[in-house]
Symmetry: C2
Subunit: 367 residues, 2 copies
Amino acid sequence: MDGATLFLGNAIHASRMAICRQGAGDRLLFVDMRGNVAITIKDIARQAGVSAATVSKVLNRKDQFISEETREKIWSLARERNYTPNSIARSLVTRSSRVIGIIVPDILNAYFTELVRACDVAARERGYSTILCNSDSDPEKEAAHLTFLASHGVDGIVMAASDLIPDAGLLERLRIPLISMDREIPELDCLAARIDTDYETGAFLSASHLIGAGHKRIAFVSGNPLASNTKIRRAGYERAHREAGLPIDPDLIECGAFNHRFGLMATRTLLDRTSFSAMCCMSDMLAMGATVALRERGLGVPEDCAVMGFDNIYIAPLLVRPLSTVERRISEAGQLAVDALIDFLDDPTQPRRMVLMEPTVILRETT
Amino acid sequence: MDGATLFLGNAIHASRMAICRQGAGDRLLFVDMRGNVAITIKDIARQAGVSAATVSKVLNRKDQFISEETREKIWSLARERNYTPNSIARSLVTRSSRVIGIIVPDILNAYFTELVRACDVAARERGYSTILCNSDSDPEKEAAHLTFLASHGVDGIVMAASDLIPDAGLLERLRIPLISMDREIPELDCLAARIDTDYETGAFLSASHLIGAGHKRIAFVSGNPLASNTKIRRAGYERAHREAGLPIDPDLIECGAFNHRFGLMATRTLLDRTSFSAMCCMSDMLAMGATVALRERGLGVPEDCAVMGFDNIYIAPLLVRPLSTVERRISEAGQLAVDALIDFLDDPTQPRRMVLMEPTVILRETT
DNA sequence: CTCACGTAAGTAAACGTTTACCTAGATGGT
DNA sequence: ACCATCTAGGTAAACGTTTACTTACGTGAG
């Protein structure tokens, strides 16, 4: 067949309309109902005069027993006709999609933006792609996303911290290799790794730095009070006080969420309720919200009130007053997570990894 | 069959190992090689004593001619066994995945974070999911993502501005319904809609505001100088000058990228080269970078140099000096894009939409 | 010459759905 | 009694791959 031939598509279901459309280069192409040109392995096979199996073998480089001639014919045909494998069909038979799902509570929180980005980069490096899901810290959405990802055949899932403890029953049932980041998680067969941050130390360092600078009344603002990642941080904050012989005043504590909106509101509440000279915010977004509230009341940072953040998101040093914060090496965590997942996929018998990342304090201008 | 029976899976390929694993609730479950419990429509059918077709009809609510009894049996079985349809198999036969792809240049740019979020929300509202891809403004990555998305059978794609004009040949070939946001794009059959921002007016408003405030030397910082979305902005900036009878000094212009890093570098360069009392930054990220550079040199904002942003990302009002900027209604744009796409998917014959969003100026404290 | 083996393919089943079309029984009208 | 129609559901092909197994044809050794 030469280059100007009419290529028939596969025999198609009688009910499905076929359209022959004049393509570029004066060629007739087979086009399906939605107007998509469909080049399949069978088309290549027919044109090359071989079977579909042979084409598949060549294209997947399992061509040990294929002659050089056939091999080249298939490759050049595939290139010429811009053959793109149908990943859906491939996934169906191989039961592997080379896609990993990522669930985060809030992509608008720059911490998660960075994390997602890092995961994506790490995944692509190893030939995987990612699908992103936002849970909004809503258990129902989280469960729905989990089911969605399972239904779409992802090979593994990275679940990043949210306030909620995931539905163990669901996870157990899905049996999809899972990486848990910074959250409490039940013991699960499919748990490939945990990447956690030593929040206790992080909060301790943050509060200790403030105490060391002479502050005696330090507000504490964090996420959902019921969630472990808040409780643990609070423990660090309290230990810093105990070790310095300072009392802990519950009036100084406001927990709710990690976003800037809560930071703003919590700070207003705190300001109305009591007095303090420093704030220990358990996320940078919280610290940004807090700073806005402080300014509203005419309070300067750090002159009237010092502010510590947590996470060291990329925006932190870009603020007009670069934010002092607790560094978490977000990208490294994301990369670690995805690498652990893919390693587990490659060899599920290997030991589960448990990583505890140690945070450090970065002093900039808000303290 | 009662609840404690051994459920055999489908007859499986002889070579594929089957493992019978003791599940929760003292039940033996059929488990595949990767350890995943596989409940298929056939399992439900066998248990209900009907054909797979009947199960499919019921579960898809095409059950006009199915008895109430059968229907209930199938539903309760499906619920009880936590049947989750295999979207991959479904997509293969229906040729529709109810997934849309989103390509952005840089998810770390808060503008795109918000856009992606809005698209995701809009898509989910209409029963679609999204897959996110980062192009890093790299034509090769963009092409690779396009191919990836096509290969994964997305129903449509939202492509957000990057500096590059997309590969028309590739797009033409893929024939996937496309929404183009804020970028030059060739006339394409599959172009479902364009959602653009009136950059010319936006930049004009930004510069005019600064001129109105008495500034005479206003720096202009924007993205890739070859890209239309920079050229058009520059035209607006220049028009504002012309209309005010002000000269345009090329020394005041630095174009490269829209991220904060370039904002920082460009401002340093400008500061070394010439003098000015205001900056017209064509993205908020650029403005944030510019502010940092200004501070470095001991210049206060807005006392020594006024700064205008562009986009009104959610962080803009959270800065210690809330940023004056040009508002773009990011979420609305995202929603518009996805709605246009899905409407097109529902009815491809409808007229293509062309939306030009009008920006407005928001004055805060940096000017 | 036979047999074993290596090479270059081809065959067909399988993945889990959806769906056009078929069937068989029941009902009802003439 | 016969035919048409409705109801409830079954059959089998199709989607585009991958892959275990088979085949057919050398070729060299014994």
